[in-house]
């Protein structure tokens, strides 16, 4: 099978042409470094992506805290995680790196905060 990929490991974004059968790579053209082959291997066996999204915050200076999975997760779970974020909520303050949710989908998928959220300033605006 022949397929094109854009490698996403770094901004070089090498355009790869790959010939593969089942889960074995036969030929890769266009990779500028060995990470390209590792990337393609993943893409045809178990494509992984970092999920980014938002979770509601109560009492914060932002309504939402942006979140991500600390590691790339199987691509097929992305939309499900997205749906789950709709029902999550966390109270301010939130620190960057703070775990918002753990073991989602029972697949050891965590969500960590990527935005610092302070408690809302309750003083009356002058």
């Amino acid at each position: 099978m022949n397929r094109k990929f854009v490698c996403i490991i770094c901004p070089n974004s090498c355009q790869l042409k790959v010939e593969y059968e089942d889960k074995t790579i036969k030929k890769i053209i266009g990779a500028q470094c060995p990470k390209g082959e590792a990337f393609v291997k993943n893409e045809i066996t178990n494509p992984l992506r970092v999920f980014v999204g938002s979770v509601k915050v109560t009492n914060g200076n932002f309504k939402l805290v942006s979140v991500k999975t600390p590691n790339p997760i199987p691509k097929k779970y992305l939309k499900h995680i997205g749906k789950i974020t709709h029902s999550l909520e966390i109270a301010a303050p939130v620190a960057i790196g703070q775990t918002i949710a753990s073991n989602l989908l029972n697949e050891k998928i965590d969500l960590v905060a990527t935005r610092k959220v302070r408690k809302k300033n309750l003083s009356i605006k002058k």
């Binding site: 509601k56 749906k83 974020t85 709709h86 029902s87």
Partner: protein, 493 residues
Amino acid sequence: MSTSRKNYDVVIIGAGVVGCAIARELSRYHIDIAVLEKEADVGWGISCRNSGVVHAGFNYEPGTLRAQLCVEGNKTFNELCLELDVPYKKIGKFVVAFKKEEITELKRLKKQGEENGVEDLQIVGTDELKRMEPNIQGLAALHSPNTAITSPYGLTIALAENALKNGTAFFLNTEVTAIKKNNSVFRITTPKKTFTSAYVINSAGLFSDRISRMAGAEKYRIYPCRGEYFILDKNTSKLVNHLVYPVPKAGYGGLGVHITPTVDGNILLGPSNEYIKNKGNLSSTSKVMKMLVSESRDFLPLVSNRDIIRSYSGIRSKQAPSSEGGFWDFTIGESRMVENFINLIGIESPGLTAAQTIAQKVVKIINKKEKLKISSKFNPFRKGILRFEAQSEDVKKSLIKEDPDYGEIICRCEKVTKKEILEAIHNPLGARDLISIKYRSRAMMGRCQGGYCLTRIIELLKEKFHLDPRDITLKGNHSSLLTGYRSNEVKIS
């Protein structure tokens, strides 16, 4: 007024600039007035969608109502705007001849204008034109110093607010579906309420033919004729100092593609002139958009596509069919078939200029029959929303001190403050759409078209009226901006 049971003396159908002007004029008297408007705000027909020109009156055939009411309206327009706190700038107009043959037309227009009572018309040559309009190369031009510009939506809103203050009841989102007359009482049906009145004034603009038929009155026919415009960035405001119109082509049915400065410092290109089938079709078309730029560049080469902020269009209520073109005179008068039903049909240009004089004419019609009593409570003055940007620094400082909401800029491009937006949100007519806020505050009218302020205005609207996100609308029903909260959308494929 007669004593048969009715809830109003006069019902006005259509809250355009003319309908609102009539309401205001009538509110000088001791009578109960209701204005019924099918849209969510006043002026959403042609009244908010024209060039905002206060014409001098040389374009109209002598002896017509258009000519007479325009010239009279022009003379009192400044005073009207002062009373209502509406912008008005008497910048004057040049009708420019680019070909020798067109100079005859200039002379004809001058003569016609003088016959209509227009003052100070002068024909100037190339040099004088160049001195006053350095970027226009014409052979000769008719200079009309009494042509002015105003804010057409500002005026419509101001008239309505003043009428409201003086006792007129406004019913927005109220479309008339039937009109019957029993004895001498009209029964006007709308989805929410039935109104009864002694008089009905049909100022329904594009739909005035439909309203007339509904009442069993004359079978008029309105032909919608669309005019498209481009709005140019304020950076172009120095391109011209006056309105600049090329000599109109005979039988054109419009006044040609013009360069019209606005009271806020933008420039309008347009309007075009196109008969269309559907009265609600406000689309901008690719063909016309190209034409507007190329025709404007014909006499003002400095116009560039890069300066375009936005397009809009308005639809004229023409009585002249497309086969004929041109203009019919205004039809203003009591129906001969239905007593006390007053028709205003085919009010296109100079309807804005003549709004008050048309209104006065309508009042005369009623007054002849009813001997209306003047109300001592009538107050002609109305204060609009204070424009922070236009104030001196000292005034700005004290405004912020009094109310810190003046210190927060919400619309960056037009420098509109939170205070002004809040006043627009809490307007006397209760209009809540984004367009209503736009017309009252100028927010979202700048070059970024709401890029910075839209989210802030949405938040303010939601906060002040405790709205569900789906209830934030752009322009009335079925124009929601949002489908809800992010976290309520639980669809997954």
